[in-house]
């Protein structure tokens, strides 16, 4: 069987989603403007970089132990890194980026280098500040904890996919008084970030943030597409609910 029938709903939904994304991208290209509502964690990004400059301290940015480069969250985090790198270049503020994944390291070096170049200070970029530090979950956590307590960054960015190390890093960051901006797609860790960090980008906000910050129109238009899909989903749920109440034996809404 070339087509697995049980995946058909996913295929149909994927194709609908593609059409909507392509439509919004096209309509932005043809001049339509979309705006994104304010996200509190985002305003804080600029503030966090500014604070580090004032204090003459570093910024620590880490994407967490749970992700790899194949994960869309990591890509979203890279977009934010690109903007943060541009700012740290402008303000001549040190950017430390420890990671557990060598591929993420390789990509982050390119992204940050480009950010520094865009800001007009390619010579301020230090490749060795974006480094690989052990793939072991708690080896990574011990190392980042050590770096935080020694380099005393003014701001800590925890953006990516985190697992149990989330609170170990966030509490250490808190103990040295850093402003902390976290964001992740790991639902369990979100609760720890909410409790321990100053700002938390919840799930999809992380994706929207990468569009907002970079001002990239294609990202903004796909945020719009996500919103359209959310409306469709809400309508679906309401209709299915009424249907199921009238006809409890119905199953067409089950996937």
């Amino acid at each position: 069987m070339w087509l697995n029938v049980s995946t058909l709903p996913t295929l149909i939904f994927s194709l609908i989603s593609f059409l909507i994304v392509l439509y919004t991208i096209w309509s932005v290209k043809s001049g339509k403007k979309f705006k994104i509502r304010e996200i509190p964690g985002l305003k804080a990004v600029e503030e966090a970089v500014g604070r580090a400059t004032e204090m003459g301290a570093a910024i620590l940015y880490t994407p967490g132990w749970g992700g790899d480069i194949q994960r869309p969250t990591t890509i979203a985090s890279m977009n934010i890194l690109s903007k943060v790198a541009e700012k740290t270049a402008e303000y001549d503020c040190r950017l430390l980026y420890p990671t557990h994944d060598p591929v993420i390291m390789a990509v982050a070096q390119e992204v940050a280098r480009e950010g520094y170049a865009r800001a007009g200070y390619p010579d301020r970029f230090k490749e060795e500040d974006i480094f690989y530090i052990s793939s072991s979950q708690f080896g990574y956590a011990a190392a980042v904890d050590g770096i935080i307590s020694r380099s005393k960054p003014a701001s800590v960015f925890l953006l990516g996919t985190f697992e149990a190390e989330s609170l170990i890093l966030a509490e250490t960051g808190n103990s040295i008084g850093a402003i902390q901006i976290a964001g992740t797609d790991s639902t369990i860790q979100l609760s720890f970030f909410i409790v321990a960090c100053d700002y938390t980008l919840i799930g999809e906000e992380l994706f929207a943030a990468s569009g907002y910050l970079s001002g990239n129109e294609s990202i903004l238009s796909s945020v719009k597409a996500q919103d359209i899909l959310k409306i469709l989903i809400a309508l679906f749920v309401i209709v299915a609910m009424i249907w199921a109440t009238i006809d409890p034996s119905s199953t067409w809404w089950k996937f």
Partner: protein, 204 residues
């Protein structure tokens, strides 16, 4: 006492000194842990990935298709030469592209479609009794989705709904926190068990 237990006990205590503050004892343990764990990862990947999955199939079994991942892997080293360093983007593009291809249907199914249909429940039970839970779930879902609606300011009806959504989010965060605390305690109890039983012999 076994020498291994002695060492493990000392290293355990060395890590705990970090709770007081960063200090040379912690730093020695931390540096040792970083070194060992990188070395460990190297050995494991060498054995289970490069030898078992690449060299053996390629050189012993003559599985020629494995030349492709070998080339992709080797291209990563082009980073060290200025001129052809762009070639390291090919394996990265492969990983990211293939990852994105897998992610679209997997994410849409497990994270979206599955969750949508799991939220649908009849508002009336078989016995004709109103199903309060079904209402809570649908209100929670729709208001939280409104919170995640980005292309409009949260004002008016939208603002109120989104605000209700934040309350549901807080309930979720409180619940997860509460449920996770227990297992976080057990990791420490495990270390206490080791320290008291094996290291200090206070518990038999």
């Amino acid at each position: 006492m076994e020498i291994g237990t002695l060492i493990a006990g000392i290293l355990t205590l060395a890590i705990y000194t970090f709770l007081y503050k960063d200090n040379p004892i912690y730093r020695v343990a931390e540096s040792w842990l970083i070194g060992l764990s990188i070395g460990y990862t190297l050995v494991i990947f060498w054995q289970t990935t490069l030898v078992d999955n690449l060299f053996n199939p390629l050189f012993d079994d003559g599985k020629l298709i494995m030349i492709l991942p070998l080339i992709l892997g080797l291209l990563m080293f082009s980073r060290f030469s200025g001129k052809i360093s762009w070639m390291s983007r090919i394996p990265i593009a492969f990983m990211i592209g293939a990852g994105a291809g897998v992610a679209i249907p997997a994410m849409l199914y497990a994270r979206t479609l599955k969750q949508v249909s799991a939220s649908v429940m009849p508002l009336m039970g078989n016995n004709g009794v109103f199903n309060f839970e079904a209402l809570v779930v649908v209100v929670g879902l729709l208001s939280t989705l409104a919170y995640f609606y980005f292309s409009r300011e949260h004002k008016g009806v939208m603002g109120k709904t989104a605000k209700l959504g934040t309350y549901f989010l807080m309930i979720f965060f409180g619940t997860t926190f509460g449920y996770t605390v227990m297992s976080r305690m057990s990791t420490f109890i495990g270390r206490v068990d080791f320290l008291l039983t094996d290291f200090l012999h206070l518990v038999k």
